[in-house]
Symmetry: C2
Subunit: 478 residues, 2 copies
């Protein structure tokens, strides 16, 4: 990068890390030599060090401060956080990841929290409102003017995954009676455009959205033309209650930089800009990946261990319950295993390959649902295809696994049973891998959350059941 280049940024972040290192060293020293004189000297160094830290932090972009907070272990993060000015701390709080934000808010004294929230505008305050205790938000909001306060309340009433939560106040709309010259005069009077503005929305006397004018059009058009003549009258707009994911897909599909949000009567209530959409896409993709791995939500990588453990328990509990069931399936065949111990050695292979192939299917189907690629009516094509893949895979891997079993235990019948069990388990994995995510999504549940657990349950239990059942029938005496 050019001016505030990547190298510069890394250097200043590195400098801050060095200061933090020194700070820790001084603290350790102070703890080891608690004599009065040494203590005085060190406390002086200590204070100088903190001043340096504060100075270095003050020149950073809030987004860089936020990234620093995101990537520092808990202790260092706390130190940096307390050295920030309220203005910078407030901005940084807007930019950090949700998990770190929650952690920081929890450990910030109420007075300081109030101070830094007071530095923010209504949009940023609204954005933080979910992470801050309601009484603190209320106290800060009481100092806002009436418009801002009503805006805050209105938006907050919508659900977390709604378009409303992506929008900002539209600070500058044009009236239908304006000429291009009037519009330019209005912008001049205001002195600048709101951030992230690529076009201005046009409303009628009742504030109903009727079009949009690109800034380029204002620059090019004749000053005396009415804005209604140069505007684009077919604007994609959204409702506050629309799903945020619908908005994101539209931005992606139609290459939008901004879009208006209108209420039931078509009145302009706010605008969504590309930066909010980028954040949303990044966060929701991350959550999808984490949900597939059995995590309820994103986690601050430096969170206290107890919090982390709790985030991971729900799915582990479900997984464990399914493992108990799979174990009981094996238990039903203890007689067979006692007669032929090789079965115990080989059975995990059948379960494992079923789980792996099935999870590939789950990941593809979850993704297909997320990008709207799997529409009603297409499921049968998908199922047929995945069944074909599983038969193909079953033939290839079943043969391989059967050959392995035959070679190790010098028994062709054992190899054949093994091959058959693998083939059948792969077919079951394909069906479950297609059906479960689609069913969850039809029931308005998150397919990423749970599909993998159900799949592993089925492929484990059925893997053991098929292999041990076939072996009981064909290999060992009743």
């Amino acid at each position: 990068m050019n001016d505030t280049s990547d190298v510069d940024l890394q250097t200043s972040a590195q400098d801050i890390r060095t200061v933090l290192e020194r700070h820790r060293l001084l603290e350790n020293l102070a703890r080891q030599q608690p004599t009065e004189k040494a203590g005085l000297l060190e406390s002086l160094q200590h204070r100088q060090n903190l001043v340096e830290l504060e100075r270095r932090l003050a020149v950073l972009h809030p987004a860089d401060v936020a990234h620093l907070l995101d990537s520092l272990p808990a202790e260092d993060r706390r130190l940096v956080w307390t050295q920030l000015s309220p203005g910078l701390a407030g901005q940084a709080l807007v930019e950090v990841s949700v998990e770190v934000r929650d952690a920081l808010v929890a450990e910030t004294p109420r007075e300081r929290l109030l101070a830094l929230l007071r530095e923010l505008d209504a949009d940023d305050l609204r954005y933080l409102a979910d992470s801050v205790p309601p009484d603190v938000v209320a106290e800060v909001a009481s100092a806002l003017d009436q418009t801002d306060r009503r805006w805050l309340e209105q938006v907050q009433a919508y659900e977390e995954d709604s378009a409303a939560r992506l929008m900002m106040q539209d600070e500058l709309s044009l009236r239908d009676a304006f000429t291009v010259g009037d519009a330019i005069a209005l912008i001049r009077q205001r002195g600048s455009l709101p951030a992230q503005t690529d076009r201005l929305f046009v409303v009628d006397s009742r504030n109903v959205l009727i079009g949009a004018v690109g800034l380029g059009v204002l620059l090019v058009a004749d000053g005396s033309s009415p804005v209604t003549r140069v505007m684009d009258a077919s604007v994609r707009s959204f409702r506050p209650s629309d799903q945020a994911s619908t908005v994101a897909k539209a931005f992606e599909r139609y290459d939008l930089l901004s879009a208006p949000v209108v209420d039931d009567r078509g009145k302009l209530v706010g605008r969504v800009t590309a930066d909010a959409v980028v954040d949303f896409i990044r966060t929701s993709s991350a959550n999808e990946a984490l949900a597939l791995a059995g995590l309820r939500k994103a986690e601050d990588v430096f969170a206290p261990a107890v919090d982390s453990a709790r985030n991971r328990w729900p799915w582990l509990a479900v997984n464990l319950a399914t493992a108990f069931v799979a174990s009981r399936v094996i238990g039903a065949f203890e007689h067979a295993i006692h007669q032929l111990v090789a079965l115990a050695t080989l059975m995990p292979i059948v379960a494992s390959i079923g789980g792996n192939t099935g999870n590939q299917t789950v990941a593809l189907v979850v993704r297909g649902i997320a990008v709207d690629q799997i529409r009603p009516g297409a499921e049968w094509h998908l199922l047929r295809k995945e069944l074909t893949v599983s038969l193909l895979n079953g033939a290839v891997w079943g043969t391989l696994v059967g050959a392995f079993a035959t070679a190790v235990y010098h028994s062709l019948p054992l190899g054949l049973v093994m091959a058959a069990a693998v083939l059948l388990n792969l077919v079951i994995a394909a069906v479950v891998g297609v059906v479960v995510p689609i069913a969850l999504s039809r029931l308005d549940r998150d397919p990423a959350q749970g599909s993998s657990v159900v799949l592993t349950f089925v492929t484990d239990s059925m893997g053991f059941f098929l292999f041990l059942g076939l072996a009981s029938a064909f290999l060992v005496g009743g």
Copy 2:
């Protein structure tokens, strides 16, 4: 949405699906009643049907055509594809997902491919160049003017994940000698701004980037001011060889809508806009999730089964090899299992809970690396934390699993061995879950690709080894 509303869009997509349905029906009929007269009537209906399809497709936005192609099963997709005009087909090809694009290009006759590529500008042609046979690209490129041809060659020389691949030609930059009035006159002369423009870049006489002017500034500033006085001189710029992910992170962090790309000497070579970044983020997040599930790349959900199977084989092969090893670990303890069959029943639980907790760690660490949250120096904090979590989890789940074993087999020693094996396997899972993704990323490998496989290998093998080893030592006679 307002004008081209979501409802409208779904309706027109639904209409097209109905036409396709009818088409299939007619084809089936024709196959069943091959009499001359009926055939004539049907072929007439058939042709009318195709005309209707063509008409309905022609009014769609290219992005909506692309989405239709993405979400149609192979046969319907082919029919829609052949009914598109070259102009619409070219635009749609730019918008479809890579997997579907590759499939479409493969089945399009060379002549038609040439025709539709000729409809595209140099930027779009460049974007498609990776999916189209080089000789076809060369033939289309030969018709471009020299500037466009050189642009195409230059960009194509950079790697696939480079910033260069995100950029477009900068069609409108301002000279440092310009006044604001000159700038506006230049835009007027051009008639409009390039798409996705929020600001214009300012260059000196040697085309070296020296700043950027927002469109709002042009609207507000005095016409006689030099652009150098009103411009922002500290612009974040990128090199063509920068990683695309670096660019995406900067857009996300600093809420950019556009950014300039400059060469080693600071000369402006192109610009990156938010829409390209949105596509990049969506695609790379998806690939990360798929890689974690053991897929080499995204897959057309309606691809031929053989292609799909091949995409899934590499990791399945590795998984199977590890399953064989785990199986041999069990094989080493066949003597113990023969003496105490309960071991065979319980051992998958130890492996399974190790795999599940470890994969949660892997998913979090892979994510942390992707968003740059895990920096050199922070690994020890992370490892310490994950070890604490694993001890906590080990105590909780180990006790539970031990209680289960004790209850089912009325043996406290068996329960204790089980609990110890779970605790130890969780500790190992934590270490592997942290170390492997970080090590892969240090070696410049993709941590999402492979971490999960290594983890499952270790937790399976060690789960069996720990449990059966402890049982051999304490429960069964030598």
